[in-house]
Symmetry: C2
Subunit: 332 residues, 2 copies
Amino acid sequence: MNNPVEMVEVWRGDMVESRHRGHAVVCDARGQVVAEWGDSGTVILPRSSCKMIQALPLVESGAARAAGLGPAQLALACASHQGAPVHVDLVRRWLSDIGRGENDLRCGAQPTRDKAERTRMVQAGEAPGQVHNNCSGKHTGFLTLAGHLGGGPDYVDADHPVQRAARAAFEDVTQQDSPLWVTDGCSAPNFATTLYGLARAMAFFAGARPDTGDARGRAAGDLVAAMLAHPMLVAGEGRACTALMQAMEGKVAAKTGAEGVFTAILPERGLGVALKIEDGATRAAETAITGILAHLGVLNRDHPTAATYLDAPVVNWRGIRTGRIRLAEGFA
Amino acid sequence: MNNPVEMVEVWRGDMVESRHRGHAVVCDARGQVVAEWGDSGTVILPRSSCKMIQALPLVESGAARAAGLGPAQLALACASHQGAPVHVDLVRRWLSDIGRGENDLRCGAQPTRDKAERTRMVQAGEAPGQVHNNCSGKHTGFLTLAGHLGGGPDYVDADHPVQRAARAAFEDVTQQDSPLWVTDGCSAPNFATTLYGLARAMAFFAGARPDTGDARGRAAGDLVAAMLAHPMLVAGEGRACTALMQAMEGKVAAKTGAEGVFTAILPERGLGVALKIEDGATRAAETAITGILAHLGVLNRDHPTAATYLDAPVVNWRGIRTGRIRLAEGFA
């Protein structure tokens, strides 16, 4: 077992004030490790970084086609969106299209992370709803699948047909039995795997195409194409997933997960990436994944977005730049 | 140089999802190390954990007495308050009493962290002001001292008499030359020291009494007494500093700092504590300092507040308890 490596430094003035360690691995569709930092055997929880895996049964079962879902809905099913009107409106319409309502969701109410919308809602005295939850697209996908597979209203129960299908897909694409599952922030089961298993799953997505292979492979191809076509739906304005995907011009899908996880799918290279910051810090995961994508040559270090994350400014309450977040010496 | 030790584990379901490492040291007024985890020689930025040091010149110069400041103002000078009405009203009155106004502050505008007040302000369309900044008490103290010492309006300049006095006091009580300074979140200089230096300074405060010793010692005694008398002014409702100080019934002062720093002053034991979480996480610093205070016997592990931080619940958007934050095996 290798120790985690120092990946990110938080500078203030002329000194490193904080450090973030982590594990990361890049592998190809055959499971060959192309690059590794720390220990790829570390068991992690992928959290939201594996939403495209959780969406596989929705597409491969035929439920998505039967419901007439297009790439926008598939991108939302893979999203940790910020609850901006564009996301919420699409979720509401999708729920209505499948004859469901917000009360059928099981993700819980979460305040929107869209600043203007949040101010508007507070001023209007509107309470946040389940549609504002960053996982509401994934959950509307679960509801769509539940309509197809059957089962009770509590589609987040681990033994519900929807979650049994999610687990089977997860273990198939990670090529590992999941040692345990936990309850995610949105109340759905989240399955543990090794970092290597998660990277291998991403490599499977990288090799998948919408028009070839078996139902699972075509479904994976559809989901990657949807993410690449709709980076704004996968997260939102100013968010790392969206900004990085836009900077890579539709060539790479990137997905954050809670507690410092990040995944990336590189279809042109046939590679999958999985990253976990040991302490769970999002700021570190964003800088580290940017470094890995630049290291792999799919993101230009000089692109303004890359530069923003590779040397992220720390600014104080008076707008003075007091520090920076950047890659640790020797990493990526 | 010892490596940082694992101090805090973040569990989700039945697994450790994230880990936090850190350094901590406890020492007495003679500088004897009573307990050490990791490396007490690590150079750190104390950030807000050293506000009582920055307030020393205000008191020892006689400026506080001349301005008629009482324990409430002194507690606010040491505070990272949450901008609740109780804090903001006191700062406004203090500014008025010394013939100054909000525009004389240099801490910058920060939204209040008091939920009800924040909602009220957003609904009323009121912009956050400098008085809402968590450091506005410290800065009003700086302004009070500037009125006494002279110097220009930019009292946060490193060569302003106020900051020269702060640095001299800092180097005196840490018993180390500060190798460098940075600009803090509130734009004031923040001086680097070793974790040991910071703990030694806290031990100096622990040994200080308002009615004995030299001017600096009496000033330190006044400041500790003020913090102990007004835990609600030092932070606010539901905040770790306030809750821990209340749980220890006026016997120990505790102070958080940005990027995972915590200090504690134990007057009855004559001990000072300094803690730095390597990755800068506040959640870890709160649990780790609670563990250290319990380890030292000044906080009962069964006290509801201690229990809350020693086994902090992680709850999801539907109110389901999905995990916990607790001390790492073998620490404290």
